[in-house]
């Protein structure tokens, strides 16, 4: 097939920008439009819960590219314009101002919205963290706060708790799991992380379902757990997950199921692709659909989508990867630690505060690798996972012909 004459990328964060850059790197000379909801230049999200929240970086430092680099892309940036509808057959996107943008190929990279629970809203002093503006508002209040409760014990909640603690705030981390990031790390390593948070004075409330807020004069004063305990707080952060930003695609004809459903080529429909947090794709190596909310997925998937737009027809079957930095510890996780996987220390030692762990499934096959303050060594162990995730390991059917 020939390359499309123009490409419209909806979403101007890491994935959308990477599609644009990758198309240009491959020599694509057609017109590219990059449409973004936020008014500012594209920025990176991992620093929001760390350096930006802590104030060690100015907001500008989180920008993904300098103005010069963006200009050199020769793409039309349409920023501060939210997409509100897609006509998939006509590949036309309408924005909130009524503008219609049309292209021969469309990429959906609208990411996530922070999940807001009805029981956790409606009072002053309650925050979510997804955007740069969110981070600025949260930082301002953290500087004045005495007691913060972070609701949500996933990656983001654990990072916010860690950052707030290093800022000297009294922090309670409450969530339903036995230990923070249990879903991402498995039981054993999550307990180590709980220990790290405890050593730094983070109060942990594992196994806590949050029932609602206590308020006075419209401002939060505490978080009420299902067990009847009240955790006092003058600031609450709800880090209870993200929701794929697909509301605007309702009625578009695309299949939406916890994300934009795509084939193994990350194609949602003829000449329509999805990349990043919003994309649910068929992973041929695992033989199932998967949606990944991590930073490297945004760019890796974007690079693949750019290749497929230009006719390469490659499946996307990554070894999932994420990192997190908390309380002086760098964690790198490759693969998906399955519940019940057994953990073996492959290098270093837990007692030394540096190790690489391998997760084995019931048949002794490696399913994941974790580095605890050993980023390089963890990456070198990643090769043991390639068989598990490579498409050749299963005879999955190819994507639908086009």
């Amino acid at each position: 097939m020939s390359a499309p004459s123009d490409v419209l990328v909806v979403g101007a964060s890491a994935a959308g920008l990477a599609v644009t850059e990758s198309l240009r790197r491959k020599g694509y000379g057609g017109r590219i439009t990059l449409l973004g909801e936020e008014a500012g230049a594209p920025y990176d999200r991992p620093p929001l819960s760390k350096q930006v929240l802590a104030g060690t970086w100015e907001a500008e430092r989180a920008q993904l590219r300098t103005r010069d680099v963006l200009d050199a892309l020769d793409a039309e940036l349409v920023l501060g314009q939210r997409a509100v509808a897609l006509d998939a057959a006509a590949r036309t996107v309408r924005t909130e101002s009524g503008t219609e943008l049309r292209a021969e190929a469309v990429v959906l990279a609208t990411g996530l919205h922070a999940r807001r629970l009805p029981g956790l809203s409606g009072a002053a002093g309650v925050h979510v963290l997804r955007t740069l503006d969110d981070a600025g508002r949260l930082r301002e209040e953290l500087l004045k706060a005495e007691r913060v409760v972070v609701v949500g014990d996933g990656v983001l909640g654990a990072e916010i708790a860690a950052t707030a603690r290093l800022m000297g705030v009294d922090v309670t981390l409450a969530g339903p799991q036995k230990a923070p990031m249990q879903a991402q790390l498995g039981d054993d390593i999550a307990q180590l992380l709980a220990g790290l948070h405890g050593e730094h004075g983070v109060r942990l409330r594992p196994g806590s379902l949050v029932d609602g807020l206590e308020t006075a004069d419209g401002r939060v004063t505490g978080v009420r757990t299902a067990g009847g305990e009240v955790l006092p707080a003058d600031l609450v952060v709800a880090a209870v997950g993200g929701v794929p930003a697909t509301d605007w695609l309702t009625g578009s004809g695309l299949v939406l199921r916890d994300g934009v459903v795509c084939d193994s080529r990350c194609r949602a429909a003829e000449d329509i692709y999805a990349a990043g947090d919003v994309a649910r794709f068929h992973h041929e190596g695992l033989g199932r659909s998967l949606r990944l909310e991590n930073r490297t997925n945004a760019t890796e998937q974007a690079v693949l989508v750019a290749a497929n737009i230009l006719g390469e027809d490659r499946p996307y079957s990554p070894v999932p990867y994420f990192w997190t930095d908390q309380l002086g510890v760098k964690l790198q996780v490759y693969g998906l630690p399955a519940p019940g996987a057994t953990v073996h220390i492959a290098e270093g030692a837990v007692g030394q505060g540096r190790f690489v762990a391998r997760y084995l499934d019931g048949e002794g096959r490696p399913v994941a690798v974790l580095g605890w303050n050993m980023p390089k060594q963890a990456r070198l162990h990643r090769q043991h996972l390639l068989d598990r995730y490579a498409p050749a390991s299963r005879s999955a059917p190819a994507a639908a012909p086009r």
Partner: protein, 66 residues
């Protein structure tokens, strides 16, 4: 081409090392990027460009005209 890296931004993912091992490495102790060749030969340009593009911390800067 001239390459600079921002060690403070680097998150230690090591994707650059996988893509362009003649240009980038990682420190053993903390995984931070080590720039092996700040002015690589032309046959390394593609790898350097891809590394800068996919770096999940936006820590690699290329100066194409330098």
């Amino acid at each position: 081409m001239r390459i600079t890296v921002d060690e403070e931004k680097c998150c230690g993912a090591g994707q650059c090392v996988v893509i362009a091992p003649e240009v980038f490495d990682q420190r053993d102790e903390d995984g931070i990027v080590v720039l092996l060749d700040a002015a690589p030969a032309a046959d390394q340009y593609e790898g350097a460009r891809e590394s800068a593009g996919v770096c999940p911390a936006a820590a690699i800067h290329l100066h194409e005209d330098a």
